[in-house]
Amino acid sequence: MTLQIALGLPMGLLFGIVLQRGRFCMNTAFREVMVSRDVALFQAYLVAVVVQSVLIQLGASLGLLEMSLIPFYWRAAVVGGLIFGMGMTLAGGCTTGTWYRVGEGMIGSFVALVGFGLSASATRWGLLRPLGLAVRGSTPLEIGGEVPTLANLLNVNPWVIIGLVAAGVAVWVLRRPGKPSLFGWSWGKTGLLIGLLAAAAWYISGLTGRHYGFSITGPTANMVNFAIAREPVSLSWAVFVVLAIPFGAFAAAKWSGEFAWRAPSPKKFPQQFVGGILMGFGAVTAGGCNIGHGLTGLSAFAVSSLVATVFTILGVWTGTYVFFVRRARGT
């Protein structure tokens, strides 16, 4: 486990710093496209996906990394994604958003994180497992025995997909760029750095025998269950990345004068806790969260990740409208 720790903790610290300085919360990214037509964080996200997709495809063709992808259970991606997305709105952050906010001193996010960790673990191993499996079904959809990707689905070279997506994103962000952050990093810088780190994650994680990039939900479930039941018997690289995120975020927040212990009004605690529970169930059922699917799997153009991400976005829009906007407008 020494290698996992030595390679995991530094990545997590860097990831935490970038998340905090870039204010990279995908709940906000998805939500503000709808609420205030503010596309800055969504553009950071798309830039990160494009940068990562180019680099990992390059890495794979050079034999530097191996791409294993999340199997496609369509019902899991649809239902899990929706529940996860709605949960995010109540929790007040996506999975990485919740982890890095803990480092900024947000007690409400800590409450959400406890709910998330417990329910992710319960869905993976415990009480919620039968429900998750019933939603998922038992047979993944495959194409010629392989996990479906946009490339094998459309029967084209992966570079064609990357080229089209990169061109589409480039045209959008250059013609209608989002407004910069006032005192945090711009969306372009944030997207570029997240993309570079996420691509490096594939390679570094591969050195420990784990063939995937960043993920949050699986590792969070693992650390909870490891602490309680010693199952799994050893911890992966990704667990140490996740554990280090709040420390990186703490350092970044501290040096930029943005650290403070903060708590919402007491009635928000149950809301954030329930949000965390929905996130854990949704993400484990879907096979990944906004990072495992949204950032990492989508960059490899896995169909599972694309569908789960689309439904996560729909879940965020639904949750934001039902739980917040409707109430604020008093209708």
Partner: protein, 74 residues
């Protein structure tokens, strides 16, 4: 010209922006809304929304993770 203050300490997303939007609707052109915030991302989402909707903004950092954002209704 009237000035209103909205203290949003501890309020979490998306409520800060929603409360600011509804407070701004009740103001007339030239009125000021003073928003007290303790979360940097809310400062960003609120000022980006304000700039996109023709309101002027003035920002002052008042402490560790505390800001005073003044919106002038345009």
């Amino acid at each position: 010209m009237t000035e209103r203050t909205l203290a949003l300490h501890g309020v979490i997303c998306p409520d800060p922006l929603l409360q600011v939007q509804s407070a701004m609707r009740a103001l007339a052109k030239g009125d000021r809304l003073v928003v007290l915030l303790d979360y940097p991302l809310s400062v960003d989402t609120i000022s980006r929304w304000a700039q996109g909707n023709g309101h002027e903004t003035e920002l002052e950092k008042t402490g560790s993770s505390e800001w005073r954002l003044v919106l002038i209704r345009g």
